[in-house]
């Protein structure tokens, strides 16, 4: 009995949990709770509240004050109670119903805990397995085809490597002829003639060379604008 008395409020989910514990400990009939006894024991437990956060403490204190209220009503002479329109027995009944309902959910929680335990023992695979869409075509023969085709190509053809350089002086000559013919050309158009980035760079260098030689002038509205190459000839 002393073990059961030594309770810590923080071990309980809330005041209803503590109340059920007290009823169980005193071997009381939940349908016929001696309010006075329970109220006193409950208040005693709440007095021990120390290291408990305010919000949880508030729930316990609220229950304690309700129990004290209920206890005082129970002590009223029946005559006065009737005059004041209070039926202590009905309040006690509602209180019991509330405890019984809570007791039901508390038991369901225990049942859920069991179900959790057993359900977790059935292991599942969280990720689904995907099927490769290319399943049918990805057989080893596809590899063989890729490889041996490459090998055959290598045997049949002698690859000629084209030297990939652009001669600046040739480009200068080409552009000079172009400017003589067209008189003025926007840089954009030259860019569109160039077949690669490298060629575009060489075009730009060629234009600079022609400016230096005073063959052309360059006109530009403002920074980063497109510019016009104008032939001086």
């Amino acid at each position: 009995m002393t073990d059961l008395l030594d309770v810590k409020v923080s071990n309980f989910e809330g005041p209803l949990d503590l109340l059920l514990h007290l009823i169980y400990k005193n071997e009381l009939d939940i349908y016929d709770i001696p309010i006075s006894l329970i109220a006193d024991q409950f208040v005693e437990e709440v007095r021990k509240l120390e290291d408990i956060d305010i919000e949880v403490a508030a729930d316990f204190i609220q229950m304690a004050s309700y129990l004290i209220y209920l206890k005082s009503k129970m002590l009223l002479p029946q005559q006065i109670a009737i005059e004041e329109g209070i039926d202590p027995e009905e309040e006690r009944f509602i209180f019991a119903q509330r405890l019984i309902e809570y007791s039901f959910y508390k038991d369901v929680a225990v049942l859920l805990k069991e179900k959790e335990f057993f359900a977790q023992r059935n292991l599942i695979r969280e990720s689904s397995i995907t099927l490769p869409v290319t399943f049918i075509s990805d057989d080893p023969y596809k590899l063989a085809k890729s490889f041996f085709s490459l090998m055959e190509e290598g045997e049949e053809e002698i690859k000629t490597v084209v030297k990939d350089t652009i001669d600046l002086s040739e480009v200068v000559k080409y552009l000079e002829a172009l400017f003589q013919k067209e008189k003025n050309i926007l840089w954009d158009r030259l860019l569109s003639i160039a077949s690669s980035k490298r060629e575009a760079v060489v075009f730009f260098l060629a234009v600079l060379e022609l400016v230096k030689q005073k063959v052309v002038d360059v006109l530009q509205g403002s920074n980063f604008d497109n510019f016009m190459v104008v032939c001086n000839g």
Binding site: P15, Y105, Q120
Partner: protein, 170 residues
Amino acid sequence: MDNERQLFYATLFLSGKLVSIDFFRKIFDPINLENRLIDYAELFNNLNLGIQIRRVADGYQMVTLSELYDNLVKFFGDKGENLTKSMLETLAVIAYKQPITRVEVDEVRGVNSSAAIRSLLDRNFIKVGGRKDVPGRPLLYVTTNSFLEYFGMVDLSDLPSFREWQEMKG
């Protein structure tokens, strides 16, 4: 073996997750389908392969036998944390009284349930199922299929009714 049965097993194997009966209704002849699926699951489970088909929530799921848990959990145990006492209690109240507001849960439990409800929402065991038509229009909570799946239940009738519980208590 007929093709439908093989496809049922193959689908559950590939998915790993719960596959709803609705899914099978779309790919198989829906007439009398549920009875056939129950048969297929039973035939499979009778083979006792260490793998099982369990009926859960709104569908079926392929899982390993619970007897093998201790051997397998070392390599494949990647479970989330177990639910706390206050989460279980809150879930119990919501399961029976859904749709229910947070304040109504608080009243039944006698304590504030905000933290528990938040955790349950995070774990996808409950979801918001509308608002209650009272001043303030508070949110209403309902349980999800993930809740049933997690506890290995087909539906809420797997839990005892209040009357059954009272009789049990004597």
